[in-house]
């Protein structure tokens, strides 16, 4: 084993983002023949599809005078035309036509970023393109698997992406932020276990023999009509560096063996979250709620999506207020609690990625 250097426990309030990573730029249905603009990791991108349906991500600034290409139109098989003086680029970002002259300036290019389409998302890689290995896309297979049903949305969150990761790695906030839907005091009272390796962190929490909160009671009754009684509840949070968190959640009839692996007497969902830094103080938060029961019911899909929409709206409000308070109090530091263990491992893994890129800014 190689010795690992531990970084100081001082906690960055605004954490930078690794560039050698896949980030979701959008849902597959968002990227079309009509170019759109989205900023990913501080870089404005023009996203569109070629005639063959291949997703393309170019820097959203024309080589000539930096006009946004996303305001232009797609052209020919795989091109896009700048809306200002009509330079046309192909999907590799190379100029293919320079209307005002007979030749093409050899340096006329815009960066074209590697793209992978997977799990209903379009992923982009903004770092060193020679390292853009599609096998490094985080596992979110439930989003597009036939064994799971569900849907999701995007939240534009006005906060550093790390605040969302903190939020998802410690669910004791549910008792206070989500008291009407999924919160309950057993969350804070029950024990949790944290494990990690080089690129993942897992936080597991089991609550035995408790009353199901309203959200889960409804789900149990969708599968077991008329269900009454106590449940065993679980939350198994898995972080994949640098910004994907899948949460295995559910409840089962108390004492039917769910903790030992038999979940047949329960309902199981996966909250899929992947957070794309937009700027240092904003992010695109892509989530989906997937379930493995009553796959046929579009009604349940819609109800769950709307339910989670409400829950995450509560988070969004808190995160925005938290970022505003951080910015309004630049001289105050963060303190850490025992419940932050998961979030602190997340920070350490991200800081190591930043360090490997030579981009870790020491805390002031």
């Amino acid at each position: 084993m190689t010795a690992v250097q531990s970084t100081s426990s001082t906690t960055n309030k605004v954490l930078g983002h690794p560039l050698n990573a896949w980030y979701v730029a959008g849902w597959d249905h968002e990227v079309t023949r009509k170019p759109m603009s989205r900023r990913v990791a501080n870089r404005p991108l023009a996203l569109y599809r070629t005639e063959d349906g291949k997703a393309v991500a170019l820097a959203d600034a024309c080589w000539h005078r930096l006009a946004p290409l996303s305001m232009g139109k797609t052209m020919g098989k795989d091109g896009i035309q700048c809306p200002y003086h009509g330079i046309v680029y192909n999907s590799a970002g190379r100029c293919v036509s320079m209307p005002a002259q007979e030749t093409i300036n050899p340096s006329a290019t815009v960066p074209s970023f590697p793209v992978v389409e997977r799990y209903r998302y379009v992923w982009v890689w903004l770092g060193d393109p020679t390292k853009a290995d599609p096998d490094l896309v985080p596992d979110m297979h439930q989003v597009s698997s036939e064994e799971w049903a569900g849907d999701g949305e995007t939240i534009h969150a006005d906060c550093n992406y790390q605040l969302v990761l903190d939020n998802l790695m410690d669910l004791t906030h549910e008792e206070f932020v989500h008291s009407s839907s999924i919160g309950q005091e057993e969350l804070s009272e029950s024990d949790f276990v944290v494990t990690h390796d080089g690129s993942t962190v897992t936080v597991s929490r089991w609550m035995h023999n408790i009353d199901a909160p309203p959200f889960w009671l409804k789900n149990m009754r969708d599968k077991f009509p008329g269900f009454e009684g106590k449940v065993d509840r679980w939350q198994i949070i898995t972080f994949q560096a640098p910004s994907t968190i899948n949460i295995d959640v559910g409840v089962a009839k108390a004492g039917t063996g769910a903790p030992e692996g038999d979940r047949s007497q329960g309902v199981n969902g996966f909250v899929m979250n992947t957070i794309t830094p937009e700027t240092d103080r904003s992010c695109h938060y892509f989530w989906a709620f997937m379930r493995n029961y009553r796959l046929e019911s579009q009604l349940i899909t819609t109800q769950l999506r709307n339910g989670v929409h409400g829950v995450f709206g509560e988070d969004e409000e808190m995160l925005k207020a938290q970022q505003a308070a951080i910015d309004a109090n630049p001289d105050y530091e963060f303190y850490n609690l025992n419940i932050d263990a998961g979030g602190m491992w997340v920070r350490r893994l991200i800081e190591r990625m930043l360090e490997a890129e030579g981009r870790l800014v020491p805390t002031a």
Binding site: A92, E102, T103, P106, P111, T130
Partner: protein, 337 residues
């Protein structure tokens, strides 16, 4: 894109300097603000010529992962005014001002096949690309053409690294490059990256166009200092401004006009942008077009020229064999904006 090409100047220290081929010096620099150089990038640096500061560009041949070592290689230019000569005087411990790596010649990852083509000193721009393609296990052929082996920098290193993927052409050994054959081996998925004399690159460009390959897949960098003819002294006149001046062999027309006090517009100074264009009113001789801005049709018309690189020569017919400097200097009469 402009944003990635912001000029950041910094100090650099020479840590190694040695000859690696005829008239070619390998120089290792340690920059104060290290940043890894992408394949295809170059640095601009300040050279001293006769006590005056000037700027020259050199491709980054090699850079360490942390960017703390940048290697460049400089050929002593035959008609040099002194930039490359200055570079050849550098010794370990000397310092100079350089930019952080600048990028006008990016390598795209993901092409089906690559051809890298280096002619002479143009090898400097291709070495790093070759290394990256090798690491990526890409499908590539590295073609290196030169006059003789002694003049070809990095030949043994490249042979060792690229093995069968390296194809060498040596004029003195009768194995000169056949451009048509090379281009015939390319298909619509092939990207060709090249750097070398403008004559070589023009021939490749013509073959590429004739075979109707994708023009955007032909990538090249111009060093902005080679032509179809040997440089000659010539006269340039601007009647409206009452200017008549002689352009020396080792001087560009743009520089000479600037020296004569003409307010000239320009940007790239290497024949790409077309901003330095002048209109030709009268011509005694021919134009050695050394730019990549004009199409062949426009170059033939000889109504305009890019004065940063192109020159007038004494050839009545435009054929190289007809150039005869002893017949007295060519004269070009122009109008400027």
């Amino acid at each position: 894109m402009a944003a990635t090409n912001v000029e950041v100047w910094q100090q650099a220290t020479v840590v190694e300097a040695r000859a690696i081929a005829t008239d070619i010096q390998r120089i290792v620099l340690e920059p104060a603000l290290p940043r890894q150089a992408e394949p295809g990038s170059h640095v601009d640096l300040k050279v001293m010529i006769d006590g005056e500061q000037d700027k020259r560009s050199y491709s980054v041949v090699e850079s360490s992962e942390d960017g703390k070592r940048l290697v460049i290689s400089v050929m002593k230019a035959p008609q040099s005014r002194g930039g490359s000569l200055f570079m050849h005087t550098l010794k370990p411990g000397d310092t100079l001002e350089i930019t952080r790596p600048l990028q006008n010649f990016p390598l795209r990852v993901g092409a089906g096949r690559y051809i890298l083509l280096a002619g002479g000193i143009g090898i400097t721009a291709m070495v790093n690309m070759g290394r990256v393609l090798k690491n990526l296990k890409a499908n590539y052929t590295f073609v290196y053409a030169g006059r003789n082996r002694a003049a070809m920098a990095y030949l043994p290193e490249l042979q060792e690294l690229h093995g069968e993927n390296l194809v060498v052409h040596v004029d003195d050994e009768g194995t000169s490059l056949k451009v048509d054959e090379l281009v015939a081996s390319a298909d619509l998925d092939t990207e060709l990256y090249m750097c070398g004399p403008i004559r070589l690159m023009d021939v490749v460009r013509r073959a590429w166009t004739e075979r109707e390959l994708n023009l955007p897949n032909l990538r090249y960098e111009t060093f902005g200092n080679s032509g179809w003819y040997d440089p000659e002294e010539f006269i340039v006149r601007i009647p409206r401004l009452g200017v008549e001046t002689k352009v020396g062999q080792g001087r560009s027309m743009l520089e000479t006009l600037e020296d004569a006090g003409v307010d000239m517009m320009f940007d790239c100074r290497k024949g790409e942008c077309g901003l330095c264009e002048v209109r030709i009113l009268e011509l005694d001789g021919a134009v050695d077009h050394r730019d990549v801005f004009y199409s062949e049709r426009q170059q033939h018309a000889a109504a305009k020229m890019c004065c940063c690189v192109s020159r007038a020569v004494t050839s009545k017919t435009g054929a190289k064999a007809d150039a005869d400097p002893h017949r007295g200097p060519a004269v070009v009469t122009i109008e400027v904006s």
